[in-house]
């Protein structure tokens, strides 16, 4: 039994039956069961913690036929067997009172996916059984060594059940976890950061994280002031993910077709087919990519942008967004695909950015730099100009000077103004793609793999005093 007092499968069946009784011509129901546990610490001590459980249903009732169909979408947490009728009635009533939906398409044909009958996955504070004691030791060690540690560990399991009046029965269990730790010197003048995504915390080593923070704070024993300007800059995979996530999120096909985003062709239509980079760079999404596994079917709890509630359950397959440096596809639901004349390529919950043939690590890239900067992470990134996808943001928690292939000191922080689309063309060297964790958006979109990049002219617009 779940918190809804019915199993998810029973909830799906009951909602579909109630929807038919209430006069819906079609219905899709999504049940999301979540459990999570987290630890947060600052100033070398625990600050907050928690264990949460959530249950939510989304009912999408449709009335009418074909493309003259209207939809009513209602979401609720804390439903019970008794209150489901009220939720379904609200969805059906809304659909009946609405005009036909622009994105209406026949509901996805029914299949029963693997594991449908299984209970929701669950996590608890026990996921930290090994991590928490090691963290406790690291906090004590930091205190003795006159360092400060601040961090957050989170683990969540969400199990989504999708059922429809066309017979669809799909289940996906998504574990997501991450740990991020900021270390500061005793006088708070220097700062370093390490972050990583995980599926189960068995691959997270608190001692190793602490050692890496100590190494980086060690680099900061020498500090150097560097002026703003265009600098030869090594971006590690985490920083590349900070920028590439915008590259991916902006790939909305309808916006591009209508001339509203960076992938629009100024003379009309989108830039699909255009060579964005002279480098053999690819951006792909693969639902079954090892370590970055995400939902293999589309889920949409409201229509808008690149997603449609009518597409729930649509099978997702590996999609090349950019290949050989050329823009191949943009995010399209069935409606926008028809509108733009492009294939149906919905958004997928991961991406892999790769440079064909590139090998080596951040350290290898650093070793090839005579004079430049190493950024560990970026922050507060926002779009300044959607036409060029010009982004602004800042460096934080570790900018380092590279001299003759070695890190020789810490540098002040900067504000940058850069477009990740332009960077695709301007980088001069790359390393091997590895799982990465964006500092700013990783907790929301953690399933990314990116390479380190060397950019010869990264635009540092001004110096930031923050440390």
């Amino acid at each position: 039994m779940t918190a809804a007092q019915l199993t998810p499968q029973e909830t799906v069946d009951k909602v579909l039956a109630l929807a038919a009784q209430a006069g819906a011509d079609g219905c899709v129901v999504l049940v999301d069961e979540t459990s999570s546990a987290n630890l947060r610490w600052a100033n070398n001590t625990l600050t907050t913690n928690g264990a949460m459980r959530g249950s939510r249903i989304t009912v999408i009732a449709t009335v009418g036929g074909g493309e003259g169909t209207a939809a009513g979408v209602v979401g609720r947490s804390s439903t019970t067997a008794d209150s489901l009728a009220e939720v379904v009635d609200a969805a059906v009533a809304t659909a009946k009172a609405s005009s036909p939906a622009e994105d209406a398409r026949p509901l996805v044909d029914g299949t029963v996916g693997p594991g449908w009958e299984q209970e929701p996955g669950e996590t608890s504070v026990l996921v930290y059984e090994s991590f928490a004691p090691a963290l406790g030791e690291a906090l004590i060690r930091a205190g003795k060594e006159n360092r400060w540690l601040y961090g957050f560990a989170d683990h969540e399991v969400t199990t989504t059940y999708v059922g429809s009046s066309t017979g669809l029965r799909l289940r996906h269990e998504q574990p997501s976890g991450h740990v991020t730790v900021t270390g500061k010197s005793g006088d708070l003048s220097q700062s370093a950061w390490v972050g990583s995504a995980t599926r189960d915390f068995t691959d997270i080593d608190a001692t190793a994280i602490d050692a890496e923070l100590s190494r980086r704070l060690g680099w900061a024993k020498r500090t150097v002031s560097v002026e703003a300007g265009r600098h030869n800059t090594v971006l590690p995979p985490a920083a590349v993910a900070d920028l590439a996530t915008y590259l991916y999120w902006e790939m909305e096909g309808r916006d591009a077709h209508e001339g509203r985003n960076v992938y629009s062709n100024p003379s009309g239509g989108s830039r699909i087919g255009e060579q964005l980079s002279p480098h053999p760079i690819s951006l792909r999404s693969l639902p079954h990519y090892a370590g970055l596994e995400c939902s293999p079917f589309a889920t949409a709890r409201s229509s808008g942008g690149s997603q449609s509630v009518f597409d729930n359950g649509l099978t997702l397959s590996a999609t090349d967004w950019i290949s050989g440096g050329k823009l191949q596809h943009l995010m399209q639901n069935r409606f926008s695909a028809d509108l733009t004349g492009n294939p149906v390529t919905p958004m997928i919950g991961n991406y892999v950015l790769e440079v064909e043939g590139a090998t080596g690590s951040v350290d290898d890239l650093v070793a090839g730099v005579e004079h430049g900067l190493l950024l560990t992470c970026l922050w507060y990134i926002r779009t300044v100009d959607p036409q060029t996808l010009l982004l602004t943001g800042l460096t934080r928690d570790g900018v380092y000077l590279i001299e003759n292939g070695e890190v020789t000191g810490a540098v002040n922080n900067f504000r940058f103004n850069e477009s990740p689309v332009d960077l695709l063309a301007r980088f001069s060297a790359a390393g091997a793609t590895v799982p990465s964790f964006s500092r700013e958006w990783g907790d929301y979109f953690p399933r990314t793999a990116t390479p380190p990049l060397l950019v010869p002219d990264f635009n540092m617009s001004s110096v930031s005093q923050a440390s």
């Binding site: 622009e102 989170d154 001339g259 800042l394 332009d422």
Partner: protein, 505 residues
């Protein structure tokens, strides 16, 4: 004054709270609190006057937080049963026990009077969730068509988010409160495309989200007719405007833009949890550390900023916060000097000597039952000059400058020094008068330099309570709604960037 929704009052608030608080006490908790929250949200989006998506959501759940052996423990769930309330109390105590080994600072809370079974509602006329969806879609369709029918407008996005939040709080000290808050966030954005020049741009309405009901969408508190009639012309002028020449300019900043600068450079900077390092791994710390209280020159002597949990229609306005503390108003910056912080009960207790008071100013907030209360922003507002100038009079004091209206892009570093903002409209000022629009404008400054350059603030007639529905903070992430009141203000010698040049074009 509206009343708390009867269907919320019918929920077994006291019974669930008693079950949880008694169990926590039996297990040895020195303090316990219980929340029951129901948040109803409706989002409606139209694209080119056609409904794109709409969703009606309800988030209902319960939470228990305890202090056990000097350590916090928190648990949340969704089943409204006594068994679940007891289970959550046990889970909260359990997680406190597991966490005890890595807690080196015993938790103590500042004292607060008890409030026995009190009720409070925000100030609004029409609960937007009580109206038929079709009526709301029809209004947005009408507003969209007014823009689409204008020459030069190619596309229009329209959206509105409406929230009705009911919250019951009870703690082991005897306080119990029931509150209801309503807020709406409407927005229309018009797009223009110049395929010959290979350029597109957009312009949004400047109506801020507000702690009001649906009446806000029909003219109470904002003149929609006037703004929608003017917006296409402003957009056309912007498309034809020259690109700004980068350099230093005097700025007159409209409240529709300045509120966001206040939010980022004062609001977050005066959160004591940030100054103390609790947010260091996420949103960051603050340059305004507690040793600077009473001596940090934040800005020019005319700068007076308040924290306020009581302003009518404010998005962060409450009767009682999520630790049972009554809403208050206080000074953050007075005569240009840092004089206060936003605090919760724990921070008030630990830092009483430095703060000069041992009472929380009511800044604890959780965005749902699923999250722990954290220190959250009050309505942080720049006060107008009593007999201050109009916006036109401020513009009249500028020889060569820019008048900035509406917010757009925003970014600030993790200690709140270096910021960069753009806007919706940028009017060139020549010899004290507006002289057409400019485009590609961003302003960049350091917080204390910027506020130190503020030469004049407008009078009460220029004052606007603006704000945001979606301020993010904490781990796990929480979303907060907050208002910022501000007059127009004049700043001298601020760095302006040309964003096209910044993009290397």
């Amino acid at each position: 004054m509206p009343e708390v929704d009867a269907s919320f009052l019918a929920l077994p608030r006291r019974e669930l709270a008693d079950a949880a608080l008694h169990r926590a006490k039996d297990l040895g908790a020195s303090y316990a609190e219980f929340r029951l929250e129901r948040i109803r949200t409706e989002s409606i989006a139209l694209r080119d006057g056609v409904l794109e998506g709409a969703r009606d959501d309800e988030d209902l759940g319960i939470a228990v937080r305890v202090i056990h052996d000097g350590t916090w423990g928190f648990a949340a769930g969704v089943a409204l049963t006594n068994d679940e309330a007891v289970r959550l109390a046990e889970a909260a105590v359990n997680i406190a026990q597991v966490s005890r080994a890595i807690n080196t600072e015993p938790i103590e809370l500042a004292d607060e009077p008890t409030y026995d079974d009190v009720q409070w509602t925000s100030s609004y006329e029409i609960d937007p969730l009580s109206l038929p969806r079709a009526e709301k879609v029809a209004l947005l369709t009408d507003y969209s068509k007014r823009l689409l029918d204008a020459p030069g407008v190619t596309h229009v996005d329209a959206r509105v988010t409406s929230v009705s939040e009911c919250k019951y709080f009870a703690n082991s000290e005897g306080t119990s409160t029931t509150q209801q808050r309503v807020r709406v966030g409407p927005q229309l954005e018009a797009f223009a495309i110049d395929s010959e020049a290979g350029r597109f741009d957009s312009m949004r309405t400047c109506a801020p989200p507000a702690g009001r009901g649906w009446e806000y969408l029909t003219g109470t508190g904002w003149n929609w007719d006037e703004e929608l009639a003017s917006l296409p012309g402003w957009l056309a002028d912007k498309m034809a405007a020259p690109s700004v020449e980068a350099g230093e300019y005097d700025l007159v900043i409209d409240p529709t833009n300045l509120w966001l600068t206040i939010h980022e450079s004062i609001g977050h900077a005066t959160e004591l949890d940030r100054a103390l390092g609790y947010e260091a791994n996420y949103a960051g710390t603050s340059f305004a550390t507690i040793d600077k209280l009473g001596n940090l020159k934040y800005g020019s002597p005319i700068m007076h900023v308040t924290g306020d949990r009581t302003a009518e229609h404010g998005l962060a306005t409450i009767g009682y916060d999520d630790e049972g503390v009554a809403g208050q108003q206080w000074d953050l910056v007075k005569n240009g000097v840092l004089v206060g912080y936003q605090v919760d009960r724990r921070m008030a207790k630990v830092n009483a000597d430095k703060l000069g008071t041992d009472r929380s100013n009511g800044c604890a907030f959780a965005d749902s039952a699923g999250h722990i209360p954290i220190q959250r922003m009050a309505n942080v507002s720049l006060q107008p000059a009593h007999d201050g100038p109009t916006t036109e009079e401020l513009i009249g004091q500028v020889k060569n400058g820019i008048y900035i209206v509406g917010d757009k892009s925003w970014s600030i570093d993790m200690q709140r020094y270096n910021f960069q903002f753009t806007g919706q409209r940028f009017f060139k000022i020549t010899d004290g008068k507006l002289d057409g629009q400019l485009r590609d404008v961003a302003y960049q400054a350091t917080t204390t330099d910027f506020w130190g350059s503020m030469e004049a603030v407008g009078g009460p007639g220029t004052y606007l309570l603006a704000g945001a529905l979606n301020c993010g903070k904490a781990q796990p992430g929480q979303v907060g709604a907050v208002s910022h009141g501000t007059p127009s203000a004049l700043f001298r010698g601020i760095r302006i960037l040309n964003t096209t040049q910044e993009a290397g074009r």
